[in-house]
């Protein structure tokens, strides 16, 4: 520990007393091993117990502690005070989501979109247990694995100007998850998911800003998934012209 001090600004919103969010600044002892999430714990434990934020695993697995750190979507557990010191760190709830309280956002719309894309394997036909497991080669797994690393943290939605402008847009994580299942050779649900992909609010709502892939803490690259789905969607359209239904 050093005697140095770092300023942390938090955008506070307490629905029972605030009409709109207000910035509140705290001063905490600087420690170069302290993550932003630990800094929030310090504030909650020692300075102000009313500060609300989401967290769980502390190791970029659960995807709970997404927030805007100096205006950029980050996981609180994956960034450190040393990345900003001696400058002030400003924390705001994830952009493009309604604020529930302080750094906690309402993610209902995001969850609804994740559910809508049927994020599970839709089998060709029911398999009996005696038939054994589904076999998959490493090459077959490689086709979708990158898109399977999503932890549903919502950072990509906070980074997406298209989602900011139009909440009907399916958005990066849900579309990347479509790519994940459609590219899995055990899955037979592509035709059902293509209905979502082909919509204006599906892949065609994306203008390839690409910031979703930059902020993704798990290197999922949703922008790539969406562009590949655009190719699939175009093929789907062309095939549909000659072979309706």
């Amino acid at each position: 520990m050093t005697d140095n001090i770092i300023e942390i600004g938090i955008l506070r919103y307490r629905p029972e007393e605030d009409d709109k969010p207000v910035m509140q600044t705290y001063e905490i002892p600087y420690n170069d091993e302290m993550s932003i999430l630990e800094a929030l714990h310090y504030i909650k434990d020692h300075l102000d117990s009313t500060v609300s934020f989401r967290w769980s695993c502390r190791m970029a697995i659960c995807g709970s502690c997404g927030m805007m750190v100096n205006g950029i979507p980050k996981l609180g557990c994956k960034v450190f005070l040393r990345d900003y010191y001696p400058k002030k760190v400003t924390l705001e709830p994830l952009a493009n989501f309604p604020i529930e309280r302080d750094l906690v956002v309402v993610m209902d719309d995001f969850i609804k979109k994740l559910e809508a894309i049927k994020p599970h394997i839709i089998s060709k036909k029911k398999k009996c247990l005696t038939e054994g497991t589904h076999k998959q080669t490493p090459a077959e797994m490689e086709k979708y694995q990158q898109f399977a690393m999503c932890i549903n943290c919502g950072l990509c939605y906070a980074a997406c100007p298209q989602y900011a402008l139009d909440k009907k847009f399916t958005g990066p994580a849900a579309l990347a998850l479509i790519a994940r299942y459609n590219r899995d050779n055990r899955d037979a649900g592509a035709a059902q998911r293509m209905e979502i992909v082909n919509q204006e609010e599906g892949v065609w709502g994306c203008t390839f800003v690409g910031y979703c892939s930059v902020v993704c803490p798990k290197d999922v690259d949703p922008a790539a998934a969406i562009q590949l789905l655009k190719i699939d969607s175009a093929k789907d359209y062309l095939i549909g012209m000659f072979k309706p239904d």
Binding site: P21, E142, P161, L165, F208, V209, G210, Y211, S213, Q227
Partner: protein, 128 residues
């Protein structure tokens, strides 16, 4: 009774000015305006060519004005910017697996620059 009162933040009109990444994206998209005008000027030249030598020379003459030169210089810089940024994004569109791994981004970008260079040389040779 629930005290829930979710607060929805407004998106500022200048949202794309607040983050360099967004600003660069808007320049990339905005470059299409000048490129479109350039294409229209070129199409107009073709139309003038169909009207005969005098009309075509008049069109060529109008391109000598300082305003036309400044416009073409700006359009060229933005078209180049669009090309470079597009090349850097394009590996995301490529889904080629080599030996169980995706093709190296650098190879895709290098091939694009090589084709770009060859096309430029061919265009110059045709014009000269």
């Amino acid at each position: 009774m629930s005290k829930r009162k979710p607060y929805i933040r407004d998106l500022p009109v200048d949202w794309w000015m607040k983050q360099l990444f967004y600003t660069k994206y808007m320049i990339r998209e905005g470059s299409s305006v000048l490129v479109t005008i350039y294409a229209l000027v070129l199409a107009w030249g073709l139309f003038r060519l169909s009207q005969g030598e005098v009309a075509f020379n008049a069109w060529l003459g109008s391109l000598q004005s300082p305003l036309a030169i400044i416009f073409h210089l700006c359009a060229f810089i933005l078209a180049l910017y669009h090309t470079i940024t597009w090349f850097s994004l394009s590996p995301k569109l490529v889904d080629i697996q080599v030996g169980g791994k995706g093709l190296d981004e650098r190879i895709i970008i290098a091939v694009e620059y090589i084709v770009f260079a060859i096309a430029t040389v061919i265009c110059f040779l045709v014009v000269i």
